[in-house]
Structures are given as structure tokens and as C-alpha cells.
């Protein structure tokens, strides 16, 4: 189920009620585990089996890995986990993509191949929970963590419903210890959790789905070309939509966990105030970028083997990161562009080592970063390269006499919302939400919280799925 649905309100009220009862901690954890399976099964009940497979394989692989006597045995058990998880991910997410790609490349070697249509349904959130369970085995293999002492805590780490389908991608070291002792939210935690849920739902229901999504669809889901105003506005709208959708999910998830007494790490830190791309990836989808850093970039060599290898590791990590987002070459190009941005930034930093940027230069770099991020978003959002080129052509005014597509009100609301997001991110660049709230008058907080809550109710939405559920 999705957070922005009526059934989730009922589900969450029941879970919160049960969690507040004076029951033994083990029983409360069992309740949370069952609730998490119900949460996942509410999409498509048979897919719970995949979740069980992923959970059980990694539990036994990790135990075997700990008890293994030789390095080759340890490596073999680690590979069992990686192959099982990536095998499931590969089949369900990339099976059709691989045969289609092979069919597209076959004529280059003189073959004619018509790919079959498998109609494989993508289990929601599979990319997230396979990465979470793999991190458990990999951390134990790399001796960064000890295995969970009981299966219940481990299964709850994998399945805990706030993070299950769209992150933040949790590490066992972040969550498993929290299950060791009884937890219940304090009044402050409950209040802050509910406020975070309201903020997250406001971002998702009102901004992403209500105001920005239709603007993006008008341009990106049309087969007609668009002029430079429409192309830029739709792309800016997507930059706002994808942030409000995904950060909205993460904020709601963190709020839900907090209401139950659990802490989850930030997944976004005001990313549109980034100055440069290494800064951007420290602020955007932090749990994925740190996962890719720890389990891909560093094993690929990181920055330990010279400049050339560093660039290759960066590009490889970002290309795979792009593919993680979706089984389409457009996502690979999106990842490739970010890889190129990171490499370019690294090169420039080396060439201008002593350069100290002033306030104006910093603002200029931030704006440049935002614009380049938007150009990359074109490939992320466009379903085909043809559409991506069409939008890019529109952005540089090369789409001829394309008819105007977006209504003035859509342009106005998009500019207002995206400008507000940018201003908020810039104002919060060096601050945390908690600190900002602590320094704001309670009357203003009350008014903002109530306004967002009312806006969510007045918009009420159609229960659209979150964009990242498809990844």
C-alpha cells in the first residue's frame, strides 16, 4: 500500500495502537513483522514469497559465512547471497530489457532476433530490499558488522514497512540494534513524526501529484514537440516533482518510523542547494549514494589507484547507479551524465586547486549545478531517446514552430513552486530541519503544519504510486 492512501491511514492507526499496548517486546516486534508483510502483500500477495526468499537466503548465507573456515568458503557464501539477490532483480527487472537490448544489437553482428514478450510484472520495491539484504551479507563478509543474534530482528530489519519499498536503504547496523531493546515514541517523537508525515504527504499529494505532475505529463507524455518555454518549464516541474515525490516518501517514512519509536537516517539534505555534483550526491538519495560508494565505487578501486582508475570507478558506479533506477538505456545515459559531471568537477578541482570561490561564484556554481541536473533529468523522465532529444531541442529553441502547450497558470504555479523549493533549500543549506524548527516561533510552526494538513485534505489526490516504486 502507499502512504498516500486511505487504507494506509487505517493500517497505520492499527499498527500504532498495537505498538502502544503494554505487550512483551518480542510480541510487538512480531506484530510489526506481520504488519510489514501485510503492507507488502497489499500490492500483490504472491510477491511476498520473493521477500521471504531474499530474507532467508541472506540469513543463512550470513550465518554460513560467519562459520566458514577458509576465505574461499566465505567468498562462496557471499557470492550465494549476491547471485540470489541479483538473480531475482535481474529476472524481474532486467529480463525483458536484456533480450530487447540483444535484439537491438543483433543486426550489428548479422543476426536477426525477434525478442519474446515475457510480460514480467515488476515486484514493487525489489531494488530496495535486495540492496538492503545484500548489504547485510556484504557487511558481514567485509567484517563491518556482526550478524543479527536472532532471526526476528533480522527479518524485521529487511521487512520493516516504513523503508521496505522505497527506502531509505537501511544498513543492518542502523536498524538491527534498535530492535534489541523496547522502543516506544515519546510525546515529542510522536509529534515530530506526525509533522514529518504531514510534510511528506504535502510534498507528494499536493506539490508532486497535484500541481507539478500534470505539467510534466503535458510535455513529456505527448508526441508533439514543445517550444523552449514549455520544455524548460516541464523539466523544472519534473525536477520539483521527482524531489517532492521521493523526498516526500522518505520524509513520510522517517515520520512513520519515528511515531513507532525508531530512528531512520535522512535520505535528502536540500539537494537543490548543491554546489557541484559531489555535493549533490551527498544530499540526494543519500542512502543509495552511500550504498553505491561502499559496495561499488570503493571495491572498483575508488580513488586509491590513481586518477584514471578513479575516473573509471566514478563512471562505472554512476552508469550502474543509472541502470539501478530503471531497465532502460535512458537511465544509463542519466547515470553517465552524472558520472561525467563528477569526473569534470574532479578535474576542475585539480586544475584550479587554489581557487577560493566568493559568495557570487558559489551562487553561480549552485545555479549551474541545478541547470545541469535538470538537463540530466530530461533523460530520466523521457521514456525514449526520441522524446529526450525532442525536449532538449525544445530547450535550445530548435523545435521550429512548436505550438505552445502549457497554460499560463501551469507556468505560474511551476515557477512559484520550484522557486520556493530552491529558496528553501538555499536557506537550509547548512542547517537541519530539527534546528530550523527549534528556532521558529511555535505559532508559525502551528500555522504551517495546519496549512499543509488542510492542503493535503483539500487536494486528497488519487492515491498515485510514488515514482520510485517502479525502481
Amino acid at each position: 500500500m502507499v502512504f498516500n492512501s486511505l487504507i494506509f491511514i487505517v493500517f497505520f492507526a492499527i499498527v500504532l495502537g498495537l505498538h502502544s499496548l503494554p505487550l512483551p517486546w518480542k510480541l510487538k516486534k512480531t506484530n510489526l513483522l506481520i504488519a510489514s508483510y501485510i503492507f507488502y502483500a497489499a500490492w500483490n500477495p504472491p510477491f511476498v514469497i520473493l521477500l521471504w526468499v531474499s530474507t532467508v537466503v541472506d540469513w543463512f548465507a550470513a550465518r554460513a559465512l560467519v562459520n566458514a573456515e577458509g576465505q574461499w568458503q566465505r567468498r562462496a557464501w557471499m557470492l550465494v547471497s549476491v547471485i540470489a539477490n541479483l538473480g531475482m532483480l535481474g529476472y524481474f527487472k532486467y529480463g525483458q530489457f536484456l533480450v530487447d537490448s540483444f535484439a537491438a544489437a543483433a543486426p550489428l553482428i548479422g543476426l536477426h532476433y525477434v525478442p519474446p514478450r515475457y510480460d514480467i510484472v515488476l515486484p514493487v520495491g525489489i531494488s530496495f530490499y535486495t540492496f538492503a539484504t545484500m548489504s547485510y551479507t556484504l557487511d558481514i563478509y567485509l567484517r563491518r558488522a556482526k550478524p543479527a543474534t536472532n532471526f526476528l530482528d533480522y527479518a524485521l530489519f529487511v521487512t520493516f514497512f516504513p523503508h521496505l519499498v522505497a527506502g531509505p536503504i537501511m544498513r543492518p547496523t542502523e536498524l538491527v540494534p534498535q530492535f534489541a531493546t523496547p522502543r516506544r515514541a515519546s510525546a515529542d517523537q510522536l509529534r515530530f513524526g506526525l509533522a514529518l508525515m504531514t510534510l511528506g504527504l504535502f510534498q507528494k499529494v499536493v506539490l508532486a501529484d497535484g500541481f507539478l505532475g500534470p505539467v510534466v505529463e503535458t510535455v513529456y507524455d505527448s508526441d508533439k514537440p514543445s517550444g523552449w518555454i514549455d520544455s524548460w518549464i516541464a523539466t523544472f516541474a519534473f525536477s520539483g516533482q521527482i524531489f517532492c515525490d521521493f523526498a516526500g516518501y522518505s520524509t513520510t517514512a522517517i515520520g512513520v518510523a519515528l511515531c513507532l519509536g525508531f530512528a531512520m537516517p535522512d535520505n535528502f539534505r536540500f539537494p537543490y542547494a548543491s554546489v557541484g555534483f559531489s555535493d549533490f550526491w551527498r544530499r540526494w538519495h543519500i542512502s543509495l549514494s552511500s550504498w553505491l560508494r561502499d559496495y561499488l565505487y570503493i571495491p572498483l578501486g575508488g580513488s586509491r589507484h590513481g586518477e584514471l582508475r578513479t575516473y573509471a570507478s566514478l563512471m562505472g558506479t554512476m552508469l550502474i547507479g543509472g541502470l539501478w533506477h530503471g531497465a532502460n538505456w535512458t537511465f544509463v545515459v542519466w547515470g553517465g551524465l552524472h558520472g561525467a559531471y563528477l569526473c569534470g568537477e574532479r578535474l576542475l578541482r585539480k586544475l584550479f586547486k587554489g581557487f577560493q570561490a566568493g559568495p557570487i561564484a558559489i551562487a553561480g556554481f549552485a545555479l549551474l549545478t541545478f541547470l545541469l541536473v535538470n538537463i540530466a533529468w530530461v533523460f530520466f523522465r523521457a521514456k525514449t531517446f526520441g522524446k529526450a532529444w525532442s525536449v532538449l531541442a525544445g530547450m535550445i529553441g530548435a523545435s521550429g514552430d512548436a505550438a505552445p502547450r502549457l497554460a499560463a497558470i501551469s507556468i505560474g504555479t511551476t515557477v512559484a513552486i520550484v522557486a520556493a523549493i530552491l529558496a528553501a533549500h538555499w536557506a537550509m543549506r547548512h542547517r537541519t530541519l530539527e534546528a530550523a524548527i527549534g528556532r521558529t516561533h511555535p505559532a508559525l510552526i502551528t500555522a504551517l503544519w495546519a496549512a499543509m494538513g488542510f492542503a493535503v485534505i483539500a487536494e486528497h489526490g488519487t492515491g498515485n504510486a510514488f515514482i520510485y516504486f517502479a525502481f
Binding site: M1, S5, R191, L406, A408, I409, F454, A458, T462
Partner: protein, 343 residues
């Protein structure tokens, strides 16, 4: 602080609800969408259904299910959907071995003779699989809609903001040109024209402008051929299970009808279809007692006229098929003069 927030939100929501009721929205108007359609469609799997209606918004708005039942003792399953082509839905019933009844296909020729299923085609996918979460939310939403008027999708905050712009930007067809709220939907998908639309000149003018008098391209010969062939196949399948199919052509405003006939004349559409499918039907042109019915925005009948039209077409179909019989205690026949609100 939490208490203050709760009070403020409740006060604002109450004021919003009051304002929406002032605009003509009412609790109990359940709205229509593919999920409501699937809920009705599911009844075929669990109970014997003797009649079902498929088609576009005209047969949906123009059928009074209560009156249908008063006349025949049968309450048909209302499976028509706005913005859709009735053919894929006829095929959906034809492919379902559980359905052995009568299908009444409401058709606007230019809507029926097209390749794609149309605006609410997702309903057909939901008929195959609907997630428990979606269904649960739908059922909870239904209960809330019984008591709250503001849950109307067409009056969401973003929709209201979008409609403030009457196409300020030259050359743009924006959200202002989308269809606005047209109907009221009660339990069992009984759908009528929204009462406010019948009386609000601005809304009626907007509705007429959106339809653009049904102007459009001429229907291609290959689309006609495909439609005839596939309809024939679907009708044969239903008849093979001892079911039957009848067609109904509801009215449209004279200026709309001119354009519809230009795109697909009756001889190439309606007449050819009945001949190809060896089926029978009730065409508005052949029902002299119900000419000149009220169509507030040109495409759909007023609520009162929907009852009159239902009376006429059901009596006509009863003459054509033994599957429908007019009850001895049925009310007397209605005519255009009976098209009086609240009768």
C-alpha cells in the same frame, strides 16, 4: 501544538466542506472511476446477471436504472464508462464464460467506431487484477463519500486553481478546456447529469464548448471494417452461451448530430453494425415519442429526460427481444412532454 493543529485543520476542513456544498456538491455523490466499474463488474463472478449495459457516457447518463427495473423487473448491471469505446467492454463480457445474459450496448457511433478503448481503458486491466490495497482504499473512500461532499475529484485544490486560467496564453488548450464535473453517481453506478449543470448557464456553455460539437476526422474505412468484424465475433460468442446483444443509440443535440453524421453516417455505422452482427437495436431516430429531449450541454440528457428516454428504449428493446418483458404493473409510457424535473 498538536491539538491546535488538529483544531485548525478540522475548522478549515469544515469550512471547505460548507463551501463545496454551496457549489452544488453533495454527500452521497460517489463519483465514477474504473475502480467503481470493477466493483460492479465483479458481480458477474458471484451472482447471475441477466442484463448488463456497456458503452460510453451517453448510455451511462441517459439510463435510469430504477425505471428500467420498474418496467421489466430487471436491474441491469451498469458497466458503461465515460470516454470509452463500448466495443472492448462488449468483448470483455464475451470472453467471460460466467456471463450468459443480455448485453445492451449504448453507442455514440464515433465513439464506438474507433480502435482504442479510450479514456478509462484501465478498467479492463483492473478487471484482471486489482491490488487489495487499491480495493481497500476504494471501499473506505466510498464510506467517506457518503458523508463528505468535498471528496469530489473534479473539485480538488489543484483542479480549482488550474481552472482559474481561461487560456490566458494564446494558442494553448489548458486545463480550462478539460471536461469538468458533469455527473452525479449514486450506488450501483446510477449516474445522472449533475443538477447544477442543468441550471448553471456558465457550466452548460463550458460543457458545450469542450465537446466542440463533436467535430473531428471522418472514421476510416479500415476502422469501420475492424469494428464490424470484432463486434460480430463478440456477439456470436455471447449468443453461443445463449446470451444476446442489443444496441441503443442515445440522442445528441442537433448541431452535434450533424457533425457526428459527417464523420460516420448512420448507413455506414449503426445500420452496417446491426447488419454485420445480425443484431437489433433502438435508435433515437426511430423513437418518435421522445424527440426533442433536453440535452443541457449537448451530449447528455437531463435527469428527468433520462427517465423518459429509458422508458422509450426499454419498451422498444422489449419488442425486439424476449429477454426483456414489460411487467403488467409497469407505469404507463412516457413521452417528451413528461420530461419534467421531479415528476
Amino acid at each position: 501544538m498538536s491539538l491546535a493543529v488538529t483544531i485548525l485543520v478540522l475548522l478549515a476542513t469544515a469550512a471547505w466542506e460548507w463551501q463545496m456544498r454551496q457549489l452544488g456538491l453533495t454527500p452521497g455523490d460517489l463519483g465514477d472511476n474504473p475502480y467503481a466499474w470493477v466493483e460492479e463488474r465483479r458481480r458477474i463472478d458471484t451472482e447471475p446477471v441477466s442484463a448488463a449495459i456497456v458503452g460510453d457516457s451517453r448510455i451511462l447518463f441517459d439510463t435510469d436504472l430504477d425505471h428500467f427495473q420498474r418496467l421489466t423487473g430487471i436491474r441491469p448491471l451498469q458497466l458503461a464508462l465515460p470516454g470509452t469505446n463500448g466495443r472492448p467492454f462488449l468483448e470483455n463480457l464475451a470472453d467471460d464464460p460466467n456471463f450468459k445474459g443480455l448485453v445492451i450496448v449504448g453507442m455514440t457511433d464515433v465513439s464506438y467506431f474507433r480502435e482504442k478503448a479510450g479514456w478509462m481503458k484501465i478498467a479492463l486491466e483492473l478487471a484482471k487484477f486489482e491490488s487489495p490495497a487499491k480495493r481497500g482504499s476504494f471501499l473506505i473512500g466510498r464510506q467517506l463519500e457518503m458523508h463528505l461532499a468535498f471528496l469530489e475529484q473534479e473539485y480538488r485544490l489543484s483542479a480549482l486553481v488550474a481552472r482559474l486560467d481561461p487560456d490566458w496564453r494564446t494558442g494553448v488548450e489548458g486545463p480550462y478546456d478539460d471536461t469538468w464535473k458533469l455527473s452525479t453517481t449514486l450506488d450501483g453506478r446510477q449516474t445522472y447529469m449533475w443538477p447544477r449543470l442543468e441550471h448553471d448557464e456558465r457550466l452548460r456553455a463550458h460543457g458545450r464548448a469542450v465537446w466542440q460539437a463533436f467535430k473531428g476526422p471522418v472514421v476510416k474505412p479500415e476502422v469501420i471494417a475492424m469494428t464490424l468484424k470484432r463486434t460480430r465475433a463478440a456477439v456470436d460468442k455471447i449468443r453461443a452461451r445463449s446470451g444476446d446483444v442489443l444496441f441503443v443509440r442515445p440522442p445528441s443535440a442537433p448541431d452535434f448530430r450533424v457533425n457526428e453524421d459527417k464523420r460516420l453516417p448512420r448507413a455506414k455505422g449503426w445500420d452496417a453494425l446491426l447488419a454485420a452482427a445480425r443484431a437489433r437495436g433502438a435508435h433515437i431516430d426511430d423513437m418518435p415519442t421522445v424527440q426533442g429531449l433536453s440535452l443541457p450541454e449537448g451530449s447528455h440528457l437531463s435527469k428527468a429526460c433520462a427517465t423518459v428516454f429509458t422508458d422509450a428504449y426499454v419498451r422498444r428493446l422489449a419488442e425486439l427481444s424476449p429477454r426483456l418483458t414489460i411487467r403488467p404493473d409497469a407505469p404507463p409510457p412516457l413521452a417528451t412532454k413528461d420530461c419534467v424535473p421531479g415528476r
